[in-house]
Symmetry: C2
Subunit: 567 residues, 2 copies
């Protein structure tokens, strides 16, 4: 498995398309100059190429396993994790006060994508820690922060999220885990949690669980849920891991992919925890963590897509088959093989630009506190998550197809991208849930935020008219149709009518945003490769929006006219 | 793993949509009355439910393996295969003169689909034998037929196809295997073949390989290839397996799925073979086998989709999550879950109707010898193959998504459909090759055959106008746009311009054909479930055609404007 970090792509998108300069102009991120960004991406990229990429197959072939209650990780993962931690990549976006690098999300997103391409199952460990770090920064007491943040940021300890229970998946409010005040400021946590990524390992000194549970006086549903920090080992007075807490890994799941990442069933049996945020205020704290993680998962999808693309391209360059125009006769000379690779490449560019654009909005929100940027980041997050992961899955599938018969032979590595990437459309909120969030909560402002983004797209198209009139017209028309559908969505009072079209609406929004970025790339770079790729995307892939928006406006009636007993 | 045979669906489609009655009216298939069809489907369905479905997980968990040169099959597969053979299902479409049931393909297709749903990896064994039987019926000498057909049809022996070599995949003509006349009418075959499904087993008495190889005087490319029958054991005078032939299994592949099906690398070291067809006429003989197999693989895809659908529906009915309108609160009450299941169901109906329509054309061709039916079967075969397998893959993916987190836990079984089904878009000619066949060879008549099918679709829409005017109009418009694109295709003299749009063109043709059958179902059944499903398909899924045809007409220019060095 080899991997070449696409640092030039990040640099181009950050500088020319999504406005990293605006982020650099803020006081908070003044250090994130183009030179610094290039150096960070280059250093992280090298680490991914040299240290992580060799672990990709190893993790798949030698899954993490549970031995007498202890998780044994895949060969090389301890060293790989150490390289991530020592590079500062766990805490790259974290507060420098506690040892973080204080980088903007825009850069962290690039680094996370590269780590995900190189070895997705290992990268999931720092991603989980990053979410926990952000939740603690925003919601924990200073005492908790001072104990935990330095350890999490340095990577000595790692963090997990504990939301799901067997009966409480997408419906988090149905959880049954209980919390009971001890009287000394701590709580006893009891319950079972499932799907806990990196619930344990054998290379960090401690594993810190953020656990959602309900106090005795907590209301039913999400409003009565509180968030607790529950460490595997309770820190002693010297802030070192002390006595073992009353929690354990019951089992690890046997999964389609991500074999290197242990997915635990966790049992808490009166384990000691500390409240994070307010009593019954767990969902707010959890959402901080989840927003970060949702973008992070979208970026994992892009990482999978990039890995699959590089893999398929390398195969296609080498594989000679059939008469065709390509010198040497590689299968790149077959139009349909070329179509597949271009679809992957164009989709990756679109999804990556969306994720980096979302990151810049998040950075601007945290640097300026302005509602405009908060709203924009919140709007783009479900799109970045769902579209990024859908692109990951589709590119991985296309990557197999490019390989032909070799694609399903495991030694080739193409199939692993499909297996590893599949869960991305499910965890951190299924892509259906993301779409419901978009047409529900994110359109609650009457479509104002969506409208501003569409204004930007149309303005961009008008600017591009001088150099690429035909492409610009297509993008403008698509944005206008999307605007009409957005108005239709906002006008629906029965939420089910919105939900019935939520997934195609989200995808259409991503398609149009992708076209916007491709068009801007063409305008910015002038005639040449970026314009040709933009032309491919806008002429062949963008038109999907029309079909998607037709579906988006159908409403729920037809879904229920097909009766349950007739399914 | 449970499975319920959808026999009512087959009966409805055969009787009301694709005209089984026409087949029954021929002398050859006069026995295939509706009663007989129902009895056949019911008996085969019961066998699939009782004997094959329990093997699905077993094959996955306990892959076939090679032990000291001998293939050991998965637990229960020997008994499962015996049930198939004893039911007569291997040779169900074969000539009664040699012990076959002489059933029309239309019925065999239904039975094959059910076996594929129940246990895909086992079903691949009889499917391979069926292809060999058909090739021998058409191209072998009477002597060969009399020895081999009874054994293959009874299932005592099994058959394989040996086309691919490491350097000769889609480009069969690049093969290097050699054949040398011995002088006694036999040939010595030498070479290595890969991807040989069911290349060996431990439950049939003999395994018969159809092997493509080149005689010393064979021209380069496909024109110099001959086809040979090369048995594992050479039949003795009593037609029983005699001495071992000079061939062996070198290794079995470690695959993404289909673990129960041994995929062999075969070595022939001067193995004795018998010519099938003419010297240098191997491709013609192979195409007989492949045409049958291509339809059969498309049907495998539908089987995967049906299995995934039943699995996901059962999960959705049981899983309670979140507030919704469904009594009991199962996730079927969430619009997006319902959308996913309806997409699966509507796609399965479309793909199944196309495959059965193709089968009826094949039956009419073999019963009447009319060119009209030969052309129609030939035109529909690549569509049935590619669309059926694409539906298999997409339905399996959607099935995982319906399961949420449980979807990637292997014990659930949802992921196996994705793993098992993935190769279907690759073997028997990748779906890209199918599409090239459609826009190349199958439009060589200037679009006449396509035009006749489009005439039927438009006539159907005109008939439906009385009862379903709005749906009918949509179908008619789609057919007309497809006609225009077909004319555009025919007008392209540079084949690369056709090939650049081949995959979307094929899919658009399938979408429109699917709409035609849904509309006919609505018209035939009247208001109720079939009309509601048709409405869902025609309003939400059919509109994809417009996007697809936009791509189909783009030509190759844009693909090559993106230069190889810029990929």
């Amino acid at each position: 498995m080899t991997y070449t970090a696409p640092t030039g792509e990040f640099t181009f998108i950050l500088e020319h398309l999504v406005g990293l300069n605006r982020v650099t102009e803020t006081e908070r991120f003044a250090d994130a100059t183009p030179d610094m960004a290039a150096a960070i991406l280059s250093e992280a990229g090298k680490m991914c190429e040299d240290k992580l990429a060799p672990l990709q197959r190893s993790g798949d072939l030698h899954p993490a396993r549970l031995e007498n209650g202890v998780v044994r990780t895949s060969p090389g993962f301890a060293e790989g994790y150490r390289a991530v931690a020592e590079g500062g990549w766990v805490g790259m976006a974290a507060d420098p006060e506690y040892g973080g690098l204080g980088l903007p999300m825009a850069l962290a997103t690039g680094v996370n994508e590269m780590m995900a391409s190189a070895c997705l199952s290992l990268q999931l460990a720092p991603l989980m820690s990053q979410g926990q770090i952000e939740a603690l920064e925003h919601h924990a007491s200073d005492a908790i922060k001072s104990i935990y943040l330095p350890k999490l940021i340095s990577g000595e300890w790692n963090g997990t999220m504990n939301l799901t229970e067997p009966q409480a998946g997408s419906d988090v409010g149905a959880l049954r885990s209980r919390a009971e005040p001890v009287g000394d400021g701590t709580y006893k946590i009891t319950g079972q949690k499932i799907y806990i990524s990196w619930g344990d390992n054998d290379f960090t000194d401690n594993t810190c669980h953020l656990v959602l549970a309900r106090l005795a006086d907590g209301a039913p549903g999400t409003k009565g849920i509180s968030l607790f920090l529950v460490p595997k080992y309770i820190p002693d007075a010297a802030r070192n891991p002390g006595r073992a807490n009353a929690l354990r890994v019951i089992s690890l799941e046997h999964k389609l992919g991500l074999h290197g990442s242990p997915t635990a069933v966790m049992e808490y049996d009166g384990a000691i925890g500390w409240l994070v945020g307010q009593e019954h205020g767990g969902m707010a704290a959890m959402f901080t963590m989840m927003n970060n993680a949702r973008l992070g998962v979208g970026v994992q999808g892009i990482g999978v897509a990039e890995g699959a693309y590089q893999h398929a391209l390398a195969y296609a360059r080498d594989r000679v088959q059939g008469r065709n125009n390509e010198p040497g006769g590689s299968i790149l000379g077959h139009p349909d093989v070329r179509r597949m690779l271009l679809e992957m490449k164009a989709d990756i560019f679109a999804a990556r630009s969306i994720a980096l654009g979302c990151s810049v909005s998040a950075d601007m929100a945290s640097a300026t506190g302005e509602q405009f940027w908060k709203d924009r980041a919140a709007f783009l997050t479900p799109i970045a998550k769902a579209f990024g992961t859908d692109v990951g899955i589709s590119a991985a599938q296309t990557g197999i197809q490019v390989h032909g018969g070799m694609g399903v032979i495991e030694e080739t590595g193409a199939a692993q991208f499909v297996r590893d990437g599949r869960v991305l459309a499910i965890y951190e909120g299924t892509n259906g849930i993301q779409a419901m969030d978009l047409v529900g909560r994110k359109l609650m402002d009457g479509g104002r935020t969506a409208g501003k983004i569409l204004d930007d797209i149309e303005t961009g198209a008008e600017t591009a008219r001088a150099t690429n009139p035909r492409l610009a017209k297509r993008v403008w028309n698509a944005a206008e149709t999307l605007r009409e559908t957005t108005e239709w969505m906002v006008a629906q009072e029965r939420m089910d009518d919105r939900f019935a079209g939520a997934v195609p609406y989200l995808r259409a929004f991503a398609r149009v945003l992708g076209a916007h970025f491709h068009l801007r790339a063409a305008t910015s770079a002038g005639p040449g490769p970026r314009t040709e790729l933009a032309r491919f995307y806008i002429r062949r892939m963008l038109p999907e929006y029309s079909w998607l928006l037709t579906q988006a406006r159908e409403g729920a009636g037809g879904l229920y006219a097909n009766r349950t007993e007739d399914l």
